[in-house]
């Protein structure tokens, strides 16, 4: 049945290279999450504001991010911006695409989180003499974080998985990119990509488990 010999040794020799790729992957994911969280909070605030323009802009961003594929958004950053004269490399395009996507999904999460914090809390903070930004930063935000923490970790795992799309726009130093390079050199597709899958699985599990531990430590009453 099998006329194929597995060559795991060559694949295992490439482990250090792939580990370096995994670090780049994690870097992109973390950066995209930081940008995504900041943009997401502003989008959530904008979509709840009284200004029609702000609400409209936030709605366009959120609905575009949620209703088109992440790959299309990365293409937009890589090829689309190019025709406006903005040329960015594949790393920046991947980062921009994932951050845009994250922000759209996280805005919805944050909107739910904001709704979960009673309005009276902000009012009480204001009547204690805090300014509006202070009340938001010191009173509302920490309570919101408690609600959105688990959706946030899910999005983090998503961000890691989405970084694999970088290879399609020619990124060659993240985990999938490194794997694809090795694949092109050796044609041991199955072996290399199985190891890459193992890497991604371990990264995802580390994120989930450490988030669970962190959440348990941070959010117990």
């Amino acid at each position: 049945m099998f006329s194929y010999t597995f060559h795991w040794r060559a694949a295992f020799q490439a482990l250090p290279q792939m580990l370096a790729g995994a670090v780049v992957t994690l870097e992109i994911a973390v950066l995209s999450m930081i940008i995504g969280i900041v943009c997401g909070i502003f989008l959530a605030l904008a979509s709840g504001s009284h200004s029609k323009i702000l609400r409209g802009a936030a709605a366009v961003w959120i609905e575009t991010a949620r209703n088109t594929p992440a790959l299309l958004q990365i293409y937009m950053a890589y090829f689309g911006l190019g025709s406006l004269g903005i040329h960015i490399n594949s790393f920046a395009a991947l980062l921009a695409g994932i951050a845009f996507n994250n922000a759209g999904y996280l805005a919805e999460t944050f909107r739910g989180g904001l709704r979960g914090v009673p309005e009276t809390q902000a009012r009480a903070a204001r009547s204690l003499g805090m300014t509006a930004p202070q009340a938001f930063r010191i009173i509302v935000l920490p309570q919101m974080m408690r609600i959105v923490f688990y959706p946030l970790t899910n999005q983090m795992v998503w961000a890691v998985l989405m970084t694999s799309l970088g290879v399609i726009v020619g990124l060659d130093n993240d985990l999938t990119g490194v794997t694809q390079n090795l694949n092109v050199l050796t044609f041991r597709t199955f072996e290399f990509f199985t190891i890459a899958a193992g890497f991604y699985y371990v990264i995802a599990k580390i994120i989930t488990l450490s988030a669970r531990a962190l959440g348990w430590r941070l959010f117990r009453y």
């Binding site: 594929p69 090829f79 689309g80 795992v157 998985l161 799309l165 399609i168 990509f193 899958a197």
Partner: protein, 217 residues
Amino acid sequence: MFSTSMSWHDLGFVLQGAGVTLAVTFWAILLGTVLGMLFGLIRAVSPWWIAAPLGVVLDVPRSVPLLIQLVIINSFKSIIGVNASPFVVSCVVLGIYASAYCSEIVRGGILAVPTTTRRAARSLGMTYWQDLKEIVFPMALRVMLPSWIGLTLGVMKDTALVLWIGIIELLRASQIIVTRIQEPLFVLTVAGLIYFAMSFPIARLGAWLEKRWQEND
């Protein structure tokens, strides 16, 4: 600035790609829902030594990038000598991927039915399977349907990745047009609008259903 060399014929080509996207989505969701119902049911009602290992296995497709899954299965089918077209491979991989998510939805839906309701059904003289069929499923369906719609849309967007194993779907079709007429921004916007048109109305429907059904609870 507003002139384009994209012809109606090109648009037809892109729409043909959209058809492929929808076809892959349909088969993937069909397979994913059938398998997902089965796995979800097993996970919800079976003893822990069956449910827990199944849960671990179904967690794998959710923790590995879809692109990697596609490449692995695509090369594995060549290794074991199965002569399946890329289309079949995509549907199977996306189907398994969807089944992992669907099993979670089904399990959540079944577990959302209060134990007391099920006990009440049993004490009315229903058999175990009657209870499942007449009581649990109708109630679980309300919890499940909005998430299932979300899953369907998610899979539809994820079908963009099958271009990597050589299928000309919506995104790949638009990329081919880009290569020819060199207007990436315009063509990608068109592709984005087509995705948006396929996804947005159904997303609204899902949100509406969710809101409406929550009111009755």
